[in-house]
């Protein structure tokens, strides 16, 4: 029996709609069941995935809007396989975590979760440029309502900032996507990526360049990367922590994925042209993110800025335009998602133990009576700082290897980012779990229910540390193909430079 990706895509939303009409008490379980079912389907997809096959698998292709040449086309290959699995896992963890707690208007709250999962899965599986844009924009809407309805005290200012920043990027991307579809030399008009990957690289370099910049704006804002991260502090503070865990773990990955899926194959000349710029942005993100992460005392923002730095590494790997770098970037995308989600959930636990404050100065000594929590946190922390032996280490190693091959000087500076990561991660761990006991801190062990959410995530981190090659080998072919054209475009230029 073939697996229909449409089932995976719409299961969460369908269950969310069902949950909306059920009574309050049961409603959340419908969404939970949907998330579990989606994870099961995602696991089946991964298990059935043929590593040696060329191109897309499990393809669904139907015409959606024939007048505009927009297809409803879904497919899986090495680029999105593990990101889909990651999405299913993280959403299930987030929904499970949230359903253990009370929320006002809870049916509506869980409805947005279901919509969010469907939208993210849609953006990851879409094989049509217009469909990708639709889901990419759509996935922001549920987070707008989740943050606005259930977030922190200054949420409205925060989400306005978040929404406007990201939608500015998204709308620029929309016009760039339409321009690609209309201007690309194809018969009629067709937005499917398979057609465009043949036609779009033949666009003139001037056209490619502005289109590239528009796409880059959308993706860099979403990540966020250094000069366009302005929404991040307020936006992150406006979200409830379980929502933020999913947002940070999954949405930024869609942006990184967008570079590999769309930008590099469709606009190879522009990608080569702007390679240096993108590498510098990545480097700036690493340094700025790290520096901010070890100066701020807000635990939430430490993780936020650490994400800026980590996404900087991922961008670095992608725009090294080398196989090793891009593969490392893809692996690191999965790793970062797996690490940052439990980290935010742990911050929620820490805050609950110091009277709601998320400030490091109010924490301390939380490990005393909570060995299990401390252990879980330590594993997450070590993975975040890319301890040798962790999968993050493998990812960062490949990224730096790729960068070293193409731009050695940038790789050297980027190495400092690895060192800085251990400084801010250990600082977060030590100042919250050890040191002097905070003024209102009460050390308390993690509850069994919360433990059952966190433990599988931590187990996955460990599993990935032992077998990083699972993700690497399945992604290899697709990554190589994705960067091939851009690499080719970049290399003559480098030869000439020598």
């Amino acid at each position: 029996v073939t697996v229909h990706l449409s089932i995976l895509l719409w299961l969460p939303l369908a269950s969310a709609v069902v949950g909306l009409v059920l009574p309050d008490v049961i409603g959340r379980f419908a969404v939970l069941a949907g998330a579990i079912a989606a994870l099961v389907v995602a696991v089946i997809v991964v298990a059935r995935f043929d590593t040696h096959a060329q191109g897309l698998q499990f393809v669904t292709d139907r015409m959606w809007i024939s007048e505009l040449g927009v297809h409803y086309k879904l497919g899986v290959d090495g680029l999105n396989l593990f990101l889909i699995l990651l999405t299913a896992v993280i959403f299930l963890a987030g929904i499970l975590w949230a359903s253990l707690r009370e929320w006002r208007q809870s049916r509506l709250f869980f409805f947005w979760w279901g919509l969010a999962e469907s939208a993210v899965l849609g953006a990851l599986m879409a094989q049509d440029l217009a469909l990708f844009v639709v889901f990419f924009d759509l996935m922001l809407v549920p987070f707008l309502f989740l943050a606005g309805g259930w977030g922190g005290p200054n949420r409205i200012a925060g989400i306005l900032k978040l929404f406007i920043y990201t939608l500015v990027g998204s709308l620029l991307m929309l016009s760039a996507a339409i321009a690609t579809g209309v201007l690309a030399p194809v018969e009629g008009i067709d937005f499917s990526l398979s057609t465009l990957s043949q036609a779009a690289p033949r666009l003139s370099s001037g056209t490619q360049e502005w289109i590239f910049l528009f796409f880059a704006a959308a993706f860099l804002v979403k990540m966020p990367a250094f000069p366009v991260h302005g929404w991040m502090p307020d936006g992150y503070k406006s979200m409830p922590l379980p929502v933020l865990a999913v947002f940070s773990a999954v949405l930024s990955k869609v942006a990184a994925y967008g570079f590999l899926r769309i930008v590099l194959p469709l606009y190879p000349d522009a990608s080569a042209h702007f390679q240096d710029l993108m590498l510098l942005i990545a480097l700036a993100s690493i340094l700025y993110g790290s520096a901010m992460a070890f100066t701020t005392t807000d635990a939430r923002l430490i993780l936020g800025y650490s994400s800026v730095a980590q996404l900087g590494f991922i961008t670095l790997g992608i725009f090294s335009l080398r196989d090793a770098g891009a593969q490392g970037a893809l692996l690191q995308a999965v790793n970062h998602g797996l690490v940052v989600a439990p980290a935010f959930l742990i911050v929620a636990l820490l805050a609950a133990r110091v009277g709601g404050s998320e400030d490091l100065r109010d924490m301390g000594g939380l490990a005393f009576r909570a060995p299990v929590l401390a252990t879980l946190f330590l594993i997450v922390a070590l993975a975040n700082l890319a301890m040798p032996g962790s999968s993050n280490f493998v990812g960062e190693f490949y990224i730096l290897l790729g960068t070293f091959q193409s731009k050695a000087a940038i790789a050297v500076v980027a190495f400092t980012g690895v060192a800085l990561a251990s400084v801010y991660t250990l600082r977060l761990f030590i100042r919250s779990m050890h040191n002097r006991v905070g003024p209102h801190a009460v050390s308390r062990e993690i509850s069994v229910a919360d433990g059952l959410v966190l433990a599988p995530l931590v187990a996955l981190i460990i599993a990935f540390a032992l077998y990083p090659q699972i993700a690497l080998s399945k992604g290899e072919r697709s990554v190589t193909r994705s960067i091939a054209a851009a690499r080719q475009a970049a290399e003559p230029a480098q030869e000439a430079a020598r």
Partner: protein, 512 residues
Amino acid sequence: MIVAAAKGPHIDWAGLSPLVALLGGATVVLLAGLLRPRWVREGVVPLLSAAAFAAAIGLGIWQLGERKDLVAGALRMDELTVVVSFVFCAGGIGAIALAWRSVAPREAAHGEFHALLLTSAAGMWVLVAANNLVTLFLGLELLSVPLYVLCATEMRRERSLESGLKYLIIGSVGSATLLYGLAFVYGATGTTDYAGIARAADGVVGDPLFLTGIALTVVGLAFKASVAPFHQWTPDVYQGAPTPVTAFMAVATKAAAFGVFLRFFDVALGPAQDEWAPALAVLAAITIVVGNVGAIGQTSLKRLMAWSSVAQAGYMLTGVVVGTKLGVSATVFYLGVYLFMNLAAFAVIVARERETGLGDDIASVQGLGATRPALALAMTLAMLGLAGIPATAGFIGKFYLIDAAVDGDYTWLGIVIVIGSMISLVYYLRVLAAMWMQGAPQTGEAVAVSAATGRPALAGGSAEADPELGRVQAEVWAVALLFGAATLVFGIIPSPLFDLATKAGAALTNLL
């Protein structure tokens, strides 16, 4: 006999039937309004006028696919006429539902109110079908004069009277400018017939007489379509007019104005496109920016919708500028989408006006997500649609317009549309934030604000005295939910709308 030789033109009654339905309906409704029993005036009259609109739509469906000249070439019956008439007739039905139990028809007398509505719609039909400069002007006046009166139908409210007067004065200036422009065009080309003008246009492209004519025509039509910098009347008139009338003006007048824009510029002035398109493109860009920036600071929802309608006019102008079939289809598509989003929004505004006594202040929708989730959902879909967020029809509409812009070598205008949408997020999100993210205002505060909005006691303005206050009527719910749902459904399954829009575009056979 000699008199018998003067033969009237052949009249194709089948083609004229939608117009006959509207005008006939107006007459019947006017007479029915004279009957004594209250239930006739308050129940039968609105039903009859809704039936007249429905008949016009039905006859339009019957005539869809026909392409013929009516009344000796004065009117053109084709898919563009029919599809645009669907938009304003549906808008008319929506406005009737919103007006059913409101103040305006009670004060202006039901028969008159509905007859004016139908006459105005008949004027729109003539305007969109006009194939001749004389019928164009005739249609425009037939559309406008009833609307001036309709704006002032809440006779005991100062703002309503002010709105009617303002609209009358500014509308007349617009009409006069247009007439002057049409005279120049006639002077330059020697004919009033669209086809004749198109034939003559090639020869007179550089003629200052002709160019002045085009410029003045643009200005005149820009007044009607609220295109900047001729939009200043829009916020005041929209705010002052009774809300159901505002809803009708927003969707129906816009549809008619763009119908005539499309036919006049893309058919009659098509050969001179190089002369007017760049200027019109600049106007569109200015309109987009001015409308969106103007909307940012508004606290009155009706004013906000007025500024937003200015901005949306700029988006739709893009389809006129490019002068291709794709452009025509995109504009017509957007008109349909615009109808859904606006009627849903105005229905919610009407519902809250009657329920809260806060008037159309943004405070009236605060906390709506908790108290009236269904209404809040309709408003949310409308706002997301107007902002162009995916999964709403507004997104597809914008997609189509940008597609047409890029295809017609106006990529920069497509980018201006995008920039406009970015600015628009600020105020559409404010409405969303008020509904879902803020608590309902205190009741004490509510009374105070209602006193401040100043509906005089004669009109039953205070919260206690107004019998309509405190409940949301079924028909208002129905309009909000129906059009909110349409915004969502056509955002996911847009094909039926595309079919109609492409047909409308294909009707202008001279275009690429």
